[in-house]
């Protein structure tokens, strides 16, 4: 009898403690409604507290650029918080300069909305929209790259500058229980404003790229937001040098098509690098553009073609090929998109040729 009483007593105490912990958690984590003042009264929103500033603003239709989905690894989601942000977190420190910290800049993915906030954001962010789309086509471009053609459903048109990117939102799938989002550059031309084309390379174990490569089917609906980014044509030059590898072809394609369509007078060279022939795509497409347009030259290059590739084009690392073809940076701008390794290697070559830092453009994610 004594044993039973003891067991019952311990059980009751455990249950009481568990209830107490649940109640305490609810009480402590309930921040109630918070007011966010945006751009000194230009807009005010009342939101439930408890989530990140990034996702809270997205819930209000205000989309802050972010490439990593709120994991504090891209540093793109900076906003100026004048009041109510709490102390700077270690996760934010690597992305903020001394001046930015002084001015109150924070990573919006790391700031939790717990009280009223005052923030400043660039006006152009108000133009970013969320789009419901349907996948019209999925193309297998290489062994690890797919092309998506999305029809815009609502809104049914998008305005963007060639070179900009969108954020693609996944749905929970397989073992992935939460929606995530990642940034992908648009490959389509701005004049074709009822569609968005994306080029997505499979990252081993990547949550979003696995979703695109293994889960999505033609006809599926997909959520995106955009446009984002400052990778677009400046054009203060006579000649444009484009360099891409892998899925980095996407924004370069958009830029080239836009320039050709508008008949802008730039001389253009597009260097597209890969290891073997199986890594290249759109060869015929850009080959035909070269035939049609005198001011456009296409230079695909392989660093290690196999004997069966029967490759007749340029051979060498893309940096070596650029080095052979581009004599100097005189009156030129360079636009790069690809892996960090390729970007870094190309920066060295271009800087050695006299391209100033204000003449080289690439997305920093």
């Amino acid at each position: 009898m004594e044993i039973v009483t003891t067991i019952l007593s311990i059980s009751l105490i455990s249950v009481a403690l568990a209830i107490l912990i649940i109640l305490a958690e609810r009480l402590l984590n309930n921040y109630g409604d918070c007011q966010i003042d945006i751009n000194e009264g230009a807009r005010q929103v009342t939101v439930p507290g408890g989530s990140s500033l990034l996702s809270t603003l997205a819930g209000q239709g205000i989309f802050i650029p972010s490439a990593c989905g709120g994991k504090a690894t891209c540093g793109l989601c900076k906003v100026q918080v004048l009041d109510g942000a709490g102390p700077l977190l270690p996760t934010e420190e690597p992305y903020l300069s001394g001046d930015e910290r002084q001015s109150g800049f924070r990573l919006s993915c790391q700031v939790k909305v717990k009280q009223n906030l005052k923030i400043l954001i660039p006006e152009e962010l108000f133009n970013i929209r969320e789009f419901k789309t349907r996948i019209a086509r999925i193309d297998t471009l290489t062994h690890d790259i797919k092309g998506l053609r999305l029809e815009l459903l609502e809104p049914d048109r998008i305005r963007f500058k060639a070179g900009q990117y969108v954020q693609l939102y996944t749905k929970p799938y397989s073992k992935v229980r939460e929606s995530v989002f990642r940034a992908y550059s648009m490959a389509s031309v701005p004049s074709e404003d009822r569609v968005v084309e994306l080029i997505v390379r499979q990252v081993p174990e990547g949550i979003c790229t696995t979703y695109v490569h293994q889960e999505l089917k033609e006809g599926d609906e997909l959520r995106i937001s955009g446009p984002y980014g400052d990778f677009y044509l400046r054009g203060d030059c006579d000649e444009l040098v484009f360099i891409a590898g892998g899925s980095g072809l996407a924004p370069i394609r958009s830029l080239i098509l836009d320039i050709l369509e508008k008949q802008l007078p730039y001389k253009m060279t597009f260097f597209f690098g890969a290891v073997t022939l199986r890594d290249l795509y759109y060869l015929d497409y850009f080959g035909e553009l070269q035939q049609k347009h005198e001011n456009f030259r296409f230079v695909p290059a392989l660093s290690k073609p196999t004997p069966t590739d029967n490759w007749q084009g340029e051979i060498g690392l893309i940096t070596e090929v650029v080095d052979r073809f581009v004599p100097d940076g005189q009156n030129k701008e360079a636009y790069l998109c690809g892996s960090p390794g390729m970007i870094n290697a190309c920066l060295n070559v271009l800087q050695a040729k006299g391209f100033g830092p204000d003449k080289i453009f690439y997305d920093k994610f």
Binding site: K71, T73, C74, E93, R182, V203, P204, E205, K304, G341
Partner: protein, 160 residues
């Protein structure tokens, strides 16, 4: 055993869908502490340290990186291919480290056998002694690494 909130967060981060599609624990049913402890014992039994393994993996990545995805020979019979992708992945151990999404594959040209690792693997081995759980797509098997790379044991850790 009761976990601290930090430990709970780390275990959540290691699960599928948090930081990677399949997570870091694979089909392993052991606790994180047990996985790390068992690998520590294994590494010591090989006469190695986590640092020595991480250094060797990192050196091979550095060797292959400038070739932008093309194979690079290492020594008489090894070949290294480094592929990097856009973006970064944070360390799940809450240490505020982020690594580039970079994959190194090392192949023994004589046998065709391969081992592979990411920059995040190298960091997690060096900083946390974590080689990922059994069955995880990016589990680094210390014995397989040693068999292919023949890392010289650290004298102070070698068994007599």
């Amino acid at each position: 055993m009761k976990q601290s909130p930090e430990q709970r967060e780390i275990e959540e981060n290691l699960k599928p869908g948090a930081f990677s599609a399949d997570g870091f624990l694979g089909t392993d049913t052991r606790s994180l502490a047990d996985i790390i402890r068992d690998d520590q014992a294994l590494v010591l039994s090989l006469g190695l340290t986590h640092q020595a393994i991480a250094r060797q993996l990192s050196a091979l990545t550095a060797l292959g990186l400038p070739s932008l995805g093309a194979p690079v020979p290492s020594g008489d019979h090894l070949e290294v291919v480094v592929t990097d992708y856009r973006g970064f992945i944070p360390c799940p151990f809450r240490d505020y480290v982020r690594e580039e999404k970079r994959l190194t594959v090392c192949r023994d040209r004589r046998t065709g056998e391969t081992i592979r690792w990411t920059d995040l693997n190298v960091h997690m081995i060096a900083a946390h002694g974590f080689y990922e759980g059994r069955g995880s797509p990016f589990r680094v098997e210390p014995a397989a690494v040693q068999a292919m790379l023949n890392i010289q044991p650290d004298p102070e850790n070698a068994e007599p």
